[in-house]
């Protein structure tokens, strides 16, 4: 159905509806089954639930296992390792070049120790463990991602190699077949010329 019908729309503008368009519009003009439905929705009085924000674990002095000095050392190491790793990922370089010097670490450590002593902030052991695990294994994620890419590539190469081998085998078989055919024909021709009485 490709007949173009010219249908002016209320004399305002012209658009060439196709026959299929017009039949659709005619159908759309028909009444739908009446439904007693309220167009005005009920928004309701109940407000949307507030976004639940994660709450930090409560501080319990009983959880303290380390002195302020030990905590300061721990936190400093965590910061140094985490920050240098992050910078290395960013630059695709080595983490060692971004690590703080001994002097810088010492200054960071001092401030954290003072903070711990004055404010009484302590990091629970479970959190320290979580942070360490995150840093140790998290730092290996880029490596795992790269390794995965290489493995996938190797699989594809292997797949391609097999396909090529199969194609080569097929080609060889075809060539052999053709050679056999050619020899048959040659033999047949030779037979014909040998038989006596051929004119």
């Amino acid at each position: 159905m490709s007949v173009l019908d010219h249908v002016p729309v209320s004399g305002k503008k012209d658009y060439n509806f196709l026959t299929g368009d017009l039949s659709f519009i005619d159908e759309m003009e028909q009444d739908k089954q009446p439904m007693n439905i309220d167009e005005r929705p009920d928004f309701g009085d109940t407000p949307l639930p507030e976004e639940q924000r994660p709450t930090l674990p409560e501080f319990n002095p009983e959880d303290v296992n380390l002195s302020a000095e030990e905590e300061a050392t721990f936190v400093t190491e965590v910061i140094d390792t985490g920050a240098s790793f992050g910078l290395a990922v960013l630059s695709k370089g080595k983490a060692e070049q971004y690590m703080a010097t001994a002097d810088q670490k010492s200054r960071i450590q001092k401030i954290i120790r003072v903070y711990c002593e004055r404010v009484g902030g302590h990091i629970p052991l479970w959190l320290q463990l979580a942070i360490i695990l995150l840093i140790v294994y998290g730092s290996r994620i880029p490596e795992a991602i790269e390794e995965r890419k290489i493995n996938i590539l190797q699989e594809k190469i292997e797949e391609q190699r097999k396909k090529i081998e199969a194609l080569e085998a097929e080609n060889k078989a075809n060539e052999l077949k053709q050679e056999v055919e050619r020899r048959k024909q040659a033999n047949a021709t030779a037979q014909e010329t040998k038989e006596p009485g051929n004119e």
């Binding site: 159905m1 490709s2 729309v9 209320s10 503008k13 658009y15 509806f17 196709l18 299929g20 368009d21 039949s23 659709f24 519009i25 159908e27 759309m28 003009e29 028909q30 009444d31 739908k32 089954q33 009446p34 439904m35 439905i37 309220d38 167009e39 005005r40 929705p41 009920d42 928004f43 949307l48 976004e51």
Partner: protein, 201 residues
Amino acid sequence: MSELRAAKCTLVLGFNGTGKTTFLRNMLEELLQRSRDMGRRLKVLIVTPDDTEWQDYPENMLESPDDYIYEGIQRHVWMDSSGDEKHYSLTRISMFNSGIIVFDDCKVYFGDILPQEIINLFVRRRQRSLDVFFVGHGFTTIPPRAFTYYSDAFLFRTVDNIDRRKDCINNFDYFKRCQAEVNQKAKNNPYYHKRIRNVDV
């Protein structure tokens, strides 16, 4: 008494520049005019991904229950981004009844997986007295579920891969033949399009 019809779920597919927006615009205006001539109120809501199209129609963000009662064509810019804003558009639109709703360039805000609220909207379109349109550039830009439930499709030129929707379209072979036909004829008339009914098998 005139014959009653079923609420429609209509797909409009075609690359940029094939005239599908012009077609839609003229068709909606025609429907609006015919409704007015018969003394009826017709409301159309066009859901768009941003503020750059359909600008000649007033904006309606469906902020209050009264915003759902109107006559004519209005547009709703999908509130994207995360958090409450996305929830807002989805919630507000899912309460739209009685009229025509057009999801223009729907892939931008729906992706491949339709929110359940939208699925409910067009699956229960009869009960909601709602005609639903999905508009996209090709087969992969319209959610698969829409193909399962479509009643009509307007196919403009597109070379998008129809095979990606093979499992969703029940008259797939016919649809594919139509795509070939439309693309061929569009070489002479870039605005050529074809109506496909789901009864065409």
